[in-house]
């Protein structure tokens, strides 16, 4: 394992994993607390439309995907705010249609078809340095926005109507959180892949929230858990030659279900 750490791609992978852990710890906690997991799933899959668009127009993938995904996310956020009853349906349709758009645009691309599996399942080993820089910038922006609007985010998660009555900018925070989630999702596609990303965003936050005394501490706890998941997953991927994103999620899911099982046993005993 230690000789692996001297390899540059392994160092990049570790750095990407740490940056992803912070990002998912903070945004994931806000997403889970605000019950936006389904929305985040929709965003992650709609992002494929952005990937397709970038290849179709022969433009750089990352900026086009970010722009496309943030746009799609803001549409979903607007729908979530306005029409409460059929939000699920509309997000589900956007989820699938974003994906379909990406596939069709890639079909229409002449010539070389890129290895799209890496977008679906992630490829942390091949993360380019540019993505790492983008992740650092995102993490700084994310933590700054969270510190600035922390009380508003907490109040919005707990009781949106009351927060609005007190004059907290709930609508702005809703769009801000959705946009932050969208940018995070796009930057993390290379780490975990758009299909697996939802686990990284939800498992650690939900585990941390059950024990933490505040949402802020849950964010820290979720970050630490994500670091553990990512490092363990990466080691397993290296040791047994597995797909890194899937290995990370497998570790996270195992811990999640172990914890869930333990909770059920405790409750049966009346503890």
């Amino acid at each position: 394992m230690f000789e692996a750490l001297s390899l540059p791609f392994m160092q990049h992978a570790l750095l990407a994993a740490l940056l992803a852990a912070v990002c998912c710890g903070v945004v994931g906690t806000l997403v889970v607390a605000n019950r936006m997991v389904f929305l985040a799933g929709g965003i992650a899959h709609a992002a494929y439309g952005g990937v397709g668009l970038a290849y179709f127009l022969a433009l750089p993938v990352l900026p086009v995907t970010v722009a496309f995904t943030v746009g799609a996310a803001l549409v979903m956020a607007a729908i979530t705010l306005r029409r409460v009853e059929d939000t699920d349906t509309v997000i589900g349709v956007l989820w699938a249609s974003g994906m379909a758009l990406g596939i069709i645009l890639l079909d229409l691309c002449p010539g070389y078809k890129p290895d799209l599996m890496s977008y679906l399942f992630g490829s942390i080993i091949t993360v380019p340095v540019g993505d790492l820089v983008a992740l650092v910038v995102l993490n700084v922006a994310l933590v700054a926005a969270t510190l600035r609007y922390y009380n508003g985010f907490v109040a919005m998660a707990f009781d949106r109507e009351f927060a609005a009555v007190r004059g907290a900018p709930v609508t702005m925070l809703h769009y801000l959180l959705t946009a932050l989630a969208a940018i995070s999702v796009v930057l993390l596609i290379r780490v975990a892949g758009l299909i697996l990303i939802i686990a990284l965003l939800t498992v650690a936050p939900s585990l941390a929230m059950r024990r933490a005394g505040s949402l802020g501490r849950a964010m820290v706890g979720a970050t630490v858990l994500n670091v553990v998941f990512c490092l363990t997953g990466l080691w397993l991927a290296y040791r047994f030659d597995l797909t890194s994103g899937a290995a990370i999620i497998a570790v996270a899911a195992s811990v999640f279900f172990l914890s869930l099982g333990r909770g059920v046993v405790c409750r049966r005993r009346g503890a």
Binding site: A155, F158, D159, A163, V165, R166, M209, G216
Partner: protein, 261 residues
């Protein structure tokens, strides 16, 4: 005469073309404690949401502290009706003290921490509702009655000029030694208060006036129902109907007796 805290003129509100409130007029003077009674679906909560600026009137005018609703949000302490939706969740790591501190949210407020003085005020508000022990406990672990009291502390912490309570008696712990009516009559003294309920027992919480809402609104300057109000709330019943006799027998301190009317 001083400007009323709430002034409503010719207010009408419709949901999808169905009027929920029609031609409502109301004045709430400073220091007044008004009970708003009405059946479920009669428009009480709609009226509150209009006053809070959550909904906008279809016709007519509302002024709160002489301004449009929503402009003076920081001066209003609000206790919402149910603990539904988000606040009912088991997984949110939020303590009783955190919930009370939410009452200090204000437009433009940013940052992460609360000052020592704010924390002290939140603890005092919890003490006022006899709940100092829940400051560090997770909100989701509290009983319905305890949650209700934390919500009242959350409304009190900003020292509001107008206190609005929506169905505060809906979550009383049956065997609790804590008396919500006693607290309601104590906390709001001198503060303009609007308390909404479908339960007539709210008249025993130290209110000074009563309004009845069932599509339209009737107001009385003393905490006693007029005959017209009783008819608005319960309808007019034939003499053979057992409810008719029951309504006529209502105690004189709740409803004005027939010979006086």
């Amino acid at each position: 005469m001083r400007q009323p805290v709430i002034a409503i003129d010719g207010l009408t509100f419709s949901y999808n073309g169905q009027p929920a409130l029609e031609n409502v007029n109301l004045r709430v003077a400073e220091g007044e404690r008004l009970a708003v009674l009405g059946p479920n679906g009669g428009g009480k909560t709609t009226l509150l949401k209009l006053i809070l600026g959550i909904l906008r009137p279809s016709a007519g005018h509302i002024r709160v502290f002489g301004d449009l609703p929503g402009r003076h949000s920081a001066r209003i302490g609000y206790v919402p009706q149910r603990l539904d939706g988000m606040a009912e969740r088991k997984d949110l790591p939020i303590t009783g003290l955190d919930v009370v501190l939410m009452g200090l949210l204000a437009p433009g407020r940013i940052g992460f921490r609360h000052s020592r003085d704010e924390v002290r005020r939140a603890e005092e508000a919890l003490a006022q509702v006899e709940m100092p022990q829940v400051a560090g406990r997770r909100f989701c672990e509290l009983s319905g009655g305890q949650k209700q009291r934390v919500f009242i502390a959350r409304a009190l912490v900003s020292e509001p000029g107008l206190l609005i309570l929506d169905e505060p008696t809906a979550n009383i712990d049956p065997q609790g030694r804590f008396c919500l009516y006693e607290v309601l009559s104590r906390i709001g003294r001198g503060v303009t208060t609007l308390v909404v309920s479908h339960d007539m027992s709210i008249l025993a919480s130290g209110v000074t006036a009563v309004a009845c809402v069932n599509g339209r609104l009737l107001h009385a300057a003393e905490p006693r129902l007029t005959r017209e109000m009783v008819e608005l709330l319960y309808g007019v019943h034939a003499p053979e109907c057992p409810l008719d006799a029951y309504l006529r027998r209502m105690p004189p301190d709740i409803a004005v007796p027939e010979m006086e009317a």
